[in-house]
C-alpha cells in the first residue's frame, strides 16, 4: 500500500454565531464536526456532498487557511495544526489550492506572468527574468504558452483562467493539491478539458489530490477514494468502485440515485427521492443527523449518533442500520 501523505484526525471547525443586544455568542455552526480520514500519496480523495455540508470548510481547514477549532492534520509526518506561522508558511509550498471561481480567484490587475510567479516571489524571493523561465515552463504544462504571459484575467476564457490558477498552484512543485470545485463554474466541454489535464498532471508528477465537488460524476471520474459528507460529518468512505457498486449509507444511496444520468434508458432505475432539505448546521438534528430525512430511521437513530466504522475492505460507514437496509443497484455501478 502506498505511503500516507495526509491524515486528518477528528477535525472540527465551529463558527460562533452572535446575537442579541450584547452581541454575545448564542450558538455555533458546526461546519466540520469530527472528521477523520487519510490520503495516500499519489491518489485522489474525492469529497462529495451538497451545499452547506461543510466540504469547502473542511478543505480549507486542512490547509489551515481556516484555523481548526480542534483536531489534527498530519501532513507528511508533520502535525501542521501545531506549527507556528513561519513554519506553516514553509510547509505551504508543498500544499496548494485551486478554487472554484476562476473569475474571482485571480487578481484582475495582474498579468498572467505576475499571477503565476507570485508564489515564487513569496517563498523564494525569486522574480523578474529568473522567474519567467519557470513561469513559462509551468504554463506549458497546463496547456498555455508564451502568448498568455502578458494577458490580464479578463482577456481569458473561464477554462484558460482555471489553467492559470492551476499553474500558480503548481509552480512550487507541491506534493498535495486541494481542488475545491475546480470545474463547477465551467461548461461541460471546458470541464472535460480541465479534468483530463488534472489527471495527466497527477500521473506525471505523482500529485496527491483532495478533490471537493458536489458533482458525483466528476468525483467518479477522478477516482481512488470517496468520502460522502452530510452536515459536517463523513457518513461513508470507501474506495471509489466499492462506493459506487455497494453504497451502504442511505444518504449515499439517495445521492447516487438522485444524480441525473445522461441516458434516458436510465430513467427506469430505482430511485430514492428524499423528503425535505438539509437542516441547518446551527441546530443539527439529534442522534444521526440524517435521521429526519432517512426512510429507515429508528428510535436508536433519533437518540444516538453513529460512529464511522470500518465494515470491511477499507469501507467505512456511519449508520446504525447499514446491515438491514436493502441494497440499491445504482446506475453508477453498471458498465
Amino acid at each position: 500500500m502506498a505511503r500516507e501523505l495526509v491524515r486528518v484526525e477528528e477535525l472540527r471547525k465551529y463558527f460562533p454565531v452572535r446575537g442579541g443586544v450584547f452581541h454575545r455568542v448564542v450558538g455555533y455552526v458546526k461546519a466540520v464536526d469530527g472528521v477523520s480520514f487519510r490520503i495516500e500519496e499519489g491518489t485522489t480523495f474525492g469529497l462529495v456532498g451538497e451545499s452547506g455540508c461543510g466540504k469547502t470548510t473542511l478543505a480549507r481547514t486542512i490547509l489551515r487557511l481556516i484555523e481548526p477549532t480542534a483536531g489534527r492534520v498530519i501532513f507528511d509526518g508533520v502535525d501542521i495544526t501545531a506549527l507556528r506561522a513561519g513554519e506553516l508558511r514553509r510547509m505551504r509550498r508543498h500544499m496548494q489550492i485551486v478554487f472554484q471561481d476562476p473569475y474571482t480567484s485571480l487578481h484582475p490587475r495582474m498579468q498572467v506572468s505576475e499571477i503565476v510567479a507570485e508564489p515564487l516571489r513569496i517563498h523564494f524571493g525569486v522574480g523578474g527574468e529568473e522567474a519567467r523561465g519557470e513561469v513559462l515552463r509551468v504554463l506549458r504544462e497546463v496547456g498555455l504558452g508564451e502568448e498568455h504571459l502578458d494577458r490580464y484575467p479578463h482577456e481569458l476564457s473561464g477554462g484558460q483562467r482555471q489553467r492559470v490558477a492551476i499553474a500558480r498552484a503548481l509552480i512550487l512543485r507541491p506534493k498535495f493539491l486541494v481542488l475545491d470545485e475546480p470545474t463547477s463554474a465551467l461548461d461541460v466541454s471546458v470541464q472535460a478539458k480541465i479534468l483530463r489535464l488534472l489527471k495527466e498532471l497527477q500521473s506525471r508528477y505523482g500529485l496527491t489530490y483532495l478533490f471537493v465537488s458536489h458533482n458525483i460524476l466528476v468525483i467518479e471520474y477522478m477516482r481512488d477514494y470517496v468520502g460522502v459528507m452530510y452536515l459536517g460529518k463523513l457518513v461513508e468512505v470507501a474506495p471509489k468502485d466499492e462506493l459506487f457498486k455497494n453504497p451502504l449509507h442511505p444518504y449515499t444511496m439517495a445521492l447516487l440515485s438522485a444524480v441525473p444520468i445522461p441516458d434516458p434508458r436510465a430513467r427506469s432505475r430505482k430511485r430514492i427521492i428524499l423528503k425535505g432539505e438539509v437542516p441547518s448546521p446551527l441546530n443539527p438534528p439529534s442522534g444521526c443527523r440524517f435521521h429526519p430525512r432517512c426512510p429507515w430511521a429508528s428510535e436508536e437513530c433519533r437518540s444516538y449518533e453513529p460512529e464511522l466504522v470500518e465494515v470491511g475492505g477499507e469501507h467505512y460507514v456511519a449508520c446504525h442500520r447499514w446491515e438491514e437496509i436493502p441494497r440499491v443497484n445504482t446506475y453508477m455501478a453498471r458498465r
Partner: protein, 319 residues
Amino acid sequence: MSSPLLEVRDLIVHFYTREGVVKALDGVMLSVGRGEIVSLVGETGSGKTVTALSIMRLLDHNARIVRGEVLFEGRNLLQLSEEEMRRIRGREISMIFQEPKSALNPVLTVGFQLREALEAHGEEGEAALEKVLSMLRRVGLPDPERLVNRYPHELSGGMAQRVMIAMALLMRPKLLIADEPTSALDVTVQAQILELIQSLVREMNTSVLFITHDLGVAAEISDRIAVMYAGVVVEQGNVYDVFEEPLHPYTRGLLAAIPRPGRELMAIEGEVPSLLNPPSGCRFHPRCPAVMEVCKRVKPRLVEVEPGRLVACHLYGGE
C-alpha cells in the same frame, strides 16, 4: 400530425452593445407539441435564454428581432400588441427561472404575490385564496395556510422554487417555460423538483420548454430535445434517438464530454466563438472534427433526416 402548440421559425436576434452587434440567435427553429416536454440544451451563451425571452417578448431594449416568427397556436406572438401579449403571459404561457428568490418580491408575502397573479387576470376574493391554497398543496408545500403569510427570505431554495411553480401553474397555462429551474438546487432537491414538474404538467396537460445546460437533467425529463450551439439549433429529436445516436458532431462532442462511469472522457477542441464576430458558414466549423470545405462557406439548414429527427449539418445533406 396536428400543428404544434409552439413553433419558432427562423428566429434571428441581435444585441446592440458597446463592443458591437452580438448575433445572438441565427435562425432558431424549434417546436413544442401539445402535452410535450421539450428540453433546449446548450452551453453558456448558446442562446437558450434569449430564445425563451424572445418567445415571451421580454428581451432587453438593446435587442432587436431581425427576422422570424414565434407561432403560438398559429398566432405570431411577435406581431401582437403589448396589451395582447400581457394577456398571454401568465395565462397562456408562463415562466419559471433559475433563482426563484430573485423572481419573488422580497417585501411581499407569498400569499399576496400569488393572489396578485390571479387578480391580474380578474380572479379575486375568497375563491382566489382557495385556489392559491390548493395550488400550494399540489406543489407539495405543507401547511399552506401559514405559508401564505411568509416572506420569500424565510423559504429554502427548494420551497421557493415550489412557490414559483405554483404561481406559474395557477392560471393553467398551455405552455410553461422553465429556465434552468433546478440549476441552483442540490441534487437531492433537484430530484424532487423534477419529479414535481413532470407529474404536474402531465396531470394538467401543460407543455414545457425546459431550458438546461445539464444533459443529465434533459435525459431525465424530456420527450424531445433540441441542442443549441452559438445561436443555432443544431439538432432536434426524440430524447432516446438523440442520446443514443447523436447526429451532429457538436452533440456527439457534448455527450462525450460528460463524465460517465466506464467511459472515456473526451473534450471538444477549441473554445466557444464570440458572437460579435461569429464564424462563417456553420458556426461550429472551426471546432468540428468532421469539417469540410463547404462548412466554411455555407450555413447548413435544419433538415429532417427521418420523421421528427432534424439536424443542421452538411454531413447529412441540406445543400
